[in-house]
Structures are given as C-alpha cells and as structure tokens.
C-alpha cells in the first residue's frame, strides 16, 4: 500500500506563513469592526481594548442592511431556482436524451462561457432601458441566469452521465414520462450535484458587483455588494463602521462555507475546469 511520506518537514513553515497571509487580513476586518474609532486609530491591527458589539447594531441600521440583504436574498433564490430547473432540464437532455444537434448546444455554452461581458452588456443596457428592465430585478435575474447556466449545465450533466442506465430503464419500462424519470429517478440520485450548483450560484449572486453596478442605479434597490460599495463611498472614513458592515455582508457566506466546505471547494474548482 502506497503511503504518503511522513516527514513533519520544513514544508510546514511556508504553509503556515501563507495561511497567516490569507487569514490575518480577514481577522483584522473582524477585530476592527469591534473597536471604537479612537481605539482603531491607536491600534489598527491588534486586538480591541474593548469589544464594542454595539457597532453591529449601528452598522445594521446606518447601512440599511435589512433592506439590501433582502434584495440580495430575493435575487439569490430566484436565480438559483431558475438555474437549477432550466439548467437541470437541459443537462438531463444533454446527458441522456441527446436529441440530434444537441452537441451544438454544448459547444455554444462552452464558447459563450468565456465571452467578455463587455461584448453584450452595452447593447443590453440600452435595450433594457428602452423596455423598462433597467433598475428592475427581472432584467438583472435574466442575465444572472444566463451567466451561471453554462457552469450549471456542465456540472449537472457530468453528474447525470455517471448514473447507470439500468436505473432509468426500469422506470421507462413502467411507462414513466421523461419528465417523471428526471424528477423521480435522476434528481434523487444527483441531488448532491444540484446542491453544489445551488451553493456556487448563490455565492456568485450574493458577491456579484459588476453587473448589478451597471444595471441597478436606484439606491434602495441595490443588492448587498453594490450597496456596500455605495456605503463605503459615503462612510469610508469611519473604518470601524465600514468593517462592521463588511462583516455583516460576509457572515452568511462564511456560515455557508463552513457548513458545506467540501461542496463549495469542489463546485468552484470543477466549475472552472469544466466550464
């Protein structure tokens, strides 16, 4: 049995340094969010002399966090739902039914997934403005679904291709329709792929800046990342407050990441390699 060489070697030294490099800035964000402004001025990168948990209440209220978080939650849920249903249907067909010409769809999705957004966002912006989809979540969600669906289709398809044919065939013999086979047979087996895609898409939408920055201008309607940017423009000098809002923004992301750590990393890693 091949074994990993177990030298508790010098390799650990650079690894520890790199880990500190990755975590320390995030720790500073959290620590600074708990300081008073005076404390921060005297001591910008150490522990707070007093932990001011009330900063979070101030941050929550001043940044109108509830409103913007709700906006983003709505965008996340609708986008994830549409990507999973529309992408799941397409993935099933591409993996199993393979109608004539569907290979072209794979090529199309592969090609467009590398297209710069600047190739289509300018005409789309003015089109959306003309038909009233600017400053409108429907207009934003359509683009989010389009941007996330190639990755979703590739990943879900790769899960479905691996399912043994015999499992479906029994259901088909019993006269089940294709849609029934998908929902009753394929879905329960490949749910972990759906969960992975859902998590990655949720992360993408929650963190998304560029598209929302272009398509949504109304201050009230801004999703969370763009609202943080607007907040920072206004209150950036108050770094304790800005840090506290920042922590609130990343809290749901961190929570989901630690809950589904493996799925997140696998999903993001596979997403870039296959899509």
């Amino acid at each position: 049995m091949a074994k990993i060489r177990s030298k508790p070697s010098l390799l650990n030294i650079p690894l520890v340094i790199f880990s500190i490099f990755a975590i320390y800035p995030i720790a500073i964000l959290v620590l600074n969010s708990l300081k008073s402004r005076r404390d921060l001025g005297l001591n910008p990168s150490g522990l707070p002399s007093e932990y001011l948990w009330s900063n979070y209440r101030t941050a929550f209220n001043t940044s109108n966090f509830a409103n913007h978080a709700t906006n983003s939650m709505f965008l996340v849920f609708v986008t994830v739902f549409l990507v999973l249903t529309l992408g799941g249907l397409a993935a099933y067909s591409l993996a199993r039914l393979k109608p004539r010409g569907s290979g072209g769809v794979m090529v199309y999705m592969l090609a467009v997934s590398t297209l710069p957004i600047w190739l289509y966002i300018v005409p789309l912006f003015f089109l959306w403005r003309q038909i009233g989809l600017l400053n409108n979540y429907f207009g934003l969600i359509l683009l989010y679904v389009a941007l996330n669906s190639p990755f979703a289709i590739f990943l879900l398809r790769s899960y479905m291709v691996r399912i043994p044919r015999e499992i479906e065939e029994a259901a088909i013999m019993d006269g089940a329709s294709k849609l029934r086979v998908l929902t009753k047979v394929i879905l329960p087996i490949s749910w972990s792929g759906f969960l992975t895609v859902g998590l990655v898409v949720a992360l993408n939408v929650w963190n998304e800046f560029q598209v929302a920055f272009i398509l949504i201008n109304d201050r009230e309607k801004l999703p969370i990342a763009t609202s943080f940017f607007a907040f920072q423009q206004e209150f950036g000098n108050d770094w304790t407050l800005t840090s506290a809002v920042g922590v609130l923004v990343i809290l749901p992301v961190l929570a989901l990441f630690f809950l589904f750590q493996r799925k997140f990393t696998d999903g993001l890693v596979q997403g870039s390699v296959k899509g």
């Binding site: 091949a2 790199f18 109608p99 600047w118 190739l119 003015f126 929650w206 943080f228 770094w239 890693v269």
Partner: protein
C-alpha cells in the same frame, strides 16, 4: 416519425434556457458587430459610419492603447506570480499528511469574499496613515513612504497584488485536487532512482497535472483582459489613468461619455485580445501537445 417526435420532446428540455441565453447574450453580442461601426449614443437610431470607429481605435485612441498595455502587465503578473505561489504550495500540501484540511480551508477563504469587501479591506491595510504599510515605513523598509494606490507607477501592481491575494488560494486547491490524482507510485519510483524533492516536482508532479495547468494558464489568459471589479473598487482607473484597463475604459466610454457605438468596438477589441490565449491553446494542441 417516432424518432423525430422523440427528438422534439428532448429538445423541449433544452429550449427554455437556450432561448433565454440567446436573448440576453448571443443576440446583443451579434448586434455589437453592427453597432460597433456606428455613432450610436445609446438612444435613437444608430448611424453607420463605415470604418471611422476602427480607424479611431487603431490610430487615435491613446486611452485604449494604454489600457491594453495595463491589461498586458496584468497578464504577465497573473501568468507568473499566482502560478508560482500555487504550484509550489499545492505540491507542498500534496506531500504532507497532517493539517491538509486546515490549510485547504484557510487558503481558500479569501476566494469566497466579495470583491468590494476585499477592496475596502486592503484599501484600509495599505492606507499610508493607518495600515500595515505605515508600519513597514516606520520600521524603515523602503518603498512604503507614499500611498501605494495613489502612486502612478505602483498602483496597478498593488491592485494586482490584492486581486491575487483573493485568487491564488483557489488556484492552489485546484492544483492540489489535480496532484492528488497523480499516482503515488510514480513519486516512489522517482525517489528510488535518487530524484530529489525538486526533481520529483519537476518530473513527476508537473507532467502529472499538465492538462489542468495548461487549461488554467489559458483561462487566466482570458480573465486578464476582463478585469473590472478590483480596479474600479480600488482606484477607478486612477491616479491619472495609470490603472485604466479595458473593462473600466469601456464602462466609461459607454456610460460616462455615452458613446455606446464606439464602446462596443472597444469591447470587441477586448474580446479579440482575450481570445488570443484560446488561439495559442489551439495552436499548441495542433502541434501535437497533449493538452
């Protein structure tokens, strides 16, 4: 007859997402081909102006050239620094037993943070009056006496450093996953042949993950021309245009100057350079590289 009907039914599963995608991506992208040759401002009817825009882009648009140069600097940075950091770290991780999970999580963490937060955080850390750079300056390390993001020659590299802080851990885990599929026996027989650590990395690990490595070089080659978030959040292209990249330039042309037609041509220019690495990839493959 039966098979045509079956085909149609199967297409019904694909059509909804395909139509949505064609509508918001393919159609506007195709319309760009025409709009890029017009003087369209975003409203009203675009007027066809022949090759005027193209002449302007090639001969008369210093902003485009300097933005393109910045994207090429960005490309050089991202094809080297993150790859050196992540390949060596991933190799190290693949050789140890204990604590791999801890390193995996902590190195990956920056990647899941939104660009706006990372930008604000590092803007603070590099603030000349408060942050870490202030400390580095006080203990006498040269080069930190001025605001890194406010100095023309340094700002772009500083933004690249910040983006890389967020990106390289992702690349590390990606390579680690690939390295874990390299058969252990290959390392052992190399060791028996007297290969040292570096030789095992060079002659076993690297060839073992070559497809992943080449693919990521290609993707990073594409992404380097699309950068927008980090530049906009940290400097908006300043100071004095020294960090302007194609992404921020197209944004400004379309939504600041309302030269929508010309902006789409700049966007096409961006797509042209971004696809260069796809072409390089295809050529290498044709030359018989197994990638």
């Amino acid at each position: 007859m039966q098979s045509t009907k079956r085909n149609l039914g199967s297409w019904l599963f694909i059509i909804p997402i395909l139509i949505l995608h064609l509508l918001v991506v393919a159609l506007p992208a195709v319309s760009t081909l025409y709009l890029s040759l017009t003087d369209w401002s975003g409203v009203g009817t675009p007027r066809f102006t022949g090759l005027d825009n193209i002449k302007r882009l090639i001969f008369d648009d210093d902003n485009f050239i300097s933005a393109l140069k910045n994207n090429i600097r960005w490309l050089v940075f991202f094809l080297t620094i993150p790859f050196i950091m992540s390949l060596s770290t991933a190799y190290g991780l693949s050789q140890i037993k204990r604590g791999v999970m801890f390193y995996r999580v902590s190195l990956f963490l920056p990647y899941i943070l939104p660009s706006v937060i990372v930008g604000a955080l590092w803007g603070f850390l590099l603030n000349p009056n408060t942050g870490v750079t202030n400390f580095l300056d006080r203990i006498g390390i040269p080069g930190f006496d001025k605001a890194l993001l406010g100095t023309a020659g340094k700002a772009l590299w500083t933004i690249a450093f910040i983006d890389n802080w967020h990106f390289w851990g992702f690349l590390t885990i990606l390579f680690l996953v690939a390295l874990q599929n390299v058969p252990r026996e290959l390392y052992e027989s190399a060791e028996l042949d007297g290969a040292n650590e570096f030789q095992r990395f060079r002659h076993v690990a690297l060839p073992g993950i070559r497809p992943t490595l080449v693919f990521m070089l290609m993707m990073v080659g594409i992404w380097s021309f699309l950068v927008f978030d980090y530049v906009w959040v940290l400097t908006r292209g300043g100071p004095a245009g020294s960090t302007e990249v194609l992404g921020t330039l197209v944004y400004r042309t379309a939504f600041g100057d309302f030269e929508a037609g010309y902006a789409t041509l700049q966007g096409l220019g961006m797509a042209f350079f971004a696809s260069a690495s796809l072409v390089a990839f295809a050529i290498l493959r044709k030359k018989g590289w197994e990638i």
